[in-house]
């Protein structure tokens, strides 16, 4: 997006509520808490917001007027309102759309808000995998799809069990320094624990998977001019964004491991004028450990089949040489339903704002956040999206 590379868009605030398993809270309440925190972080109030992006939560699925209800509940009046349904890519795709809306003159300051309470109430009906064909034939949910992809990877490159164990263990260690991580995960995890966890969909184990929880997160996006006018000292520029949905519409590829990231990866780095080695902080969408490994390869951080070598040779803690999911990611902070993609976005912004107390990546000035959405029938990820961020000072 050319409108990003000119650094005319700024993320000026962020907010997040702690992830909680079975909180009994309503998504509207968590949304309000996250919005309040985001506004307070940059000194704005409700009347300063004239645009909103959001999504219908799994806990409220089927409500055709969710976004309208949300805006009314929060006491906002907006000239631009968008709800999207790109699954784990919702947070960063909504941010890109907010930037486009600001450039189009539809609004000036957008609250990008995600909230979901699927571990309290789940009303979703997942149909992106073509349920009438898949379910009667033995499909048992998204884990089946990831198990299939994982088996194809294992057959071609060998199963990178040690590397995936390291992702799980490091994510947990990172979550220990994140007060917003789900309390169920606030205890150390060992490699032995990982290998002792049961198989869920071979070759994936229980500790390769996320656990659902409730949560909410938000960022505030405006023009760089407005950020300056507000007297802010520091903000974050989104400098490149790419997404693709249904990258192989005719299923011509015989390589099931090839995802949309292999198409957008080179483009997003080219747009940003950066190489993977220039990224200080990685926030990769992590509904499964294996998704992290595959994205590293697909985005170009290492050649195909070399993901395990990269993971095992790097330190992924905040003090390491390749900081990855520094708040624990979804794997160890919890997956708050369709708000889960916002965990990585908020953590990246927090890092680039220099506010990741206790887990700050020293000198972090660039970050990459990814998102992905749905496993379609007999395919790889439906939507692949990547966002590159950069720190800015007044």
């Amino acid at each position: 997006m050319k409108i990003l590379s000119d650094r005319s868009i700024a993320i000026i605030g962020f907010g997040e509520v702690p992830n909680v398993k079975s909180s009994t809270a309503h998504a509207l309440d968590l949304a309000a808490y996250a919005a309040r925190e985001a506004l307070a972080s940059c000194g704005l109030d409700l009347a300063d917001i004239d645009g909103v992006t959001t999504h219908t939560p799994l806990s409220e699925a089927g409500d055709p007027f969710w976004s309208n209800l949300l805006v009314e509940t929060l006491g906002l009046s907006c000239h631009w309102l968008q709800s999207s349904d790109l699954g784990g890519a919702i947070a960063i795709s909504n941010l890109s759309r907010a930037a486009a809306a600001i450039h189009a003159g539809l609004c000036e300051t957008v609250l990008c808000l995600c909230a979901d309470t699927p571990s309290t109430q789940y009303l979703g009906r997942q149909g992106g995998h073509r349920e009438s064909l898949a379910d009667p034939m033995g499909w048992a949910g998204p884990i089946t799809g990831f198990g299939l992809l994982a088996s194809a990877y294992a057959a071609r490159f060998g199963w990178p069990a040690e590397a995936l164990a390291k992702i799980a263990v490091t994510s947990r260690a990172n979550a220990l320094a994140n007060p917003n991580a789900c309390s169920a995960f606030r205890k150390p995890l060992s490699t032995e624990d990982y290998f002792a966890s049961r198989m869920i969909s071979d070759p994936l184990r229980l500790l390769d998977c996320v656990m659902r929880c409730d949560g909410a997160n938000a960022v505030i996006v405006t023009t760089t001019n407005r950020a300056r006018a507000l007297g802010l000292k520091r903000w974050v520029h989104p400098i490149a964004y790419r997404e693709i949905t249904n990258p192989d519409p005719q299923q011509r590829s015989t390589d099931i491991l090839e995802s949309g990231f292999s198409q957008i990866g080179p483009k997003v780095f080219n747009d940003a004028g950066l190489a993977p080695s220039d990224i200080d902080v990685l926030q990769l969408y992590d509904d499964f450990t294996f998704a992290v490994l595959l994205q590293l390869e697909e985005l170009g951080f290492c050649p195909r089949g070399q993901g395990a070598r990269l993971i095992e040779s790097c330190d992924h803690s905040a003090g390491g040489n390749l900081p990855l999911n520094t708040g624990g990611g979804q794997l160890s902070a919890g997956q708050c339903g369709l708000a889960g993609g916002g965990i990585g976005l908020v953590e990246a912004v927090r890092q680039l704002m220099g506010q990741a107390h206790g887990r700050q990546v020293t000198g972090a000035s660039t970050a990459l956040v990814s998102g992905l959405g749905v496993l379609p029938y007999a395919g790889n990820w439906g939507t692949s999206a990547a966002l590159i961020l950069e720190t800015a000072h007044a």
Binding site: M137, L149, A155
Partner: protein, 133 residues
């Protein structure tokens, strides 16, 4: 409970399974097969599709063990496979065999087996000459 409303092409496909036929859509000009069935040709809207029965031959692309779930078509565990049909499209189905053993080699040949009137309505088995690990 009412039957769910499905796209017409999928309803026709499911009806074909009840007759023991796995039907693919084929482009009238390109000759390219597509699955799952849709209301249009995936290559071009200027091209129509016709339906023909698949040979039932395919190649194993991926295979996992389903170990839990709700409303599954048979007791767990079982192998759930992604197959590339000889005509090109990918399809999902249970692969017959003992899930307590190592799954068959990716790339091995498989054949469809029809079970009209039952769930699942079709499964796959290893082709003659292929060995289970």
């Amino acid at each position: 409970m009412r039957e769910p409303i499905r796209p017409r092409a999928i309803t026709e496909f499911l009806s074909g399974l009840q007759e023991g036929s796995l039907r693919l859509q084929v482009g009238s000009i390109s000759g390219q097969a597509q699955f799952y069935p849709r209301a249009l040709n995936l290559g071009s809207v200027a091209e129509s599709v016709y339906t023909k029965a698949a040979t039932g031959q395919g190649t194993l692309m991926a295979c996992t063990v389903v170990r839990s779930g709700v409303d599954l078509p048979r007791p767990v565990p079982y192998w759930l496979a992604m197959i590339r049909l000889a005509e090109g499209p990918r399809i999902l189905g249970i692969l017959e065999g003992d899930p307590a053993t190592t799954p068959p080699r990716i790339g091995c040949s498989v054949l469809v087996q029809h079970h009209p009137g039952k769930l699942p309505p079709f499964t796959f088995r290893l082709a003659d000459g292929e060995q289970q690990a």
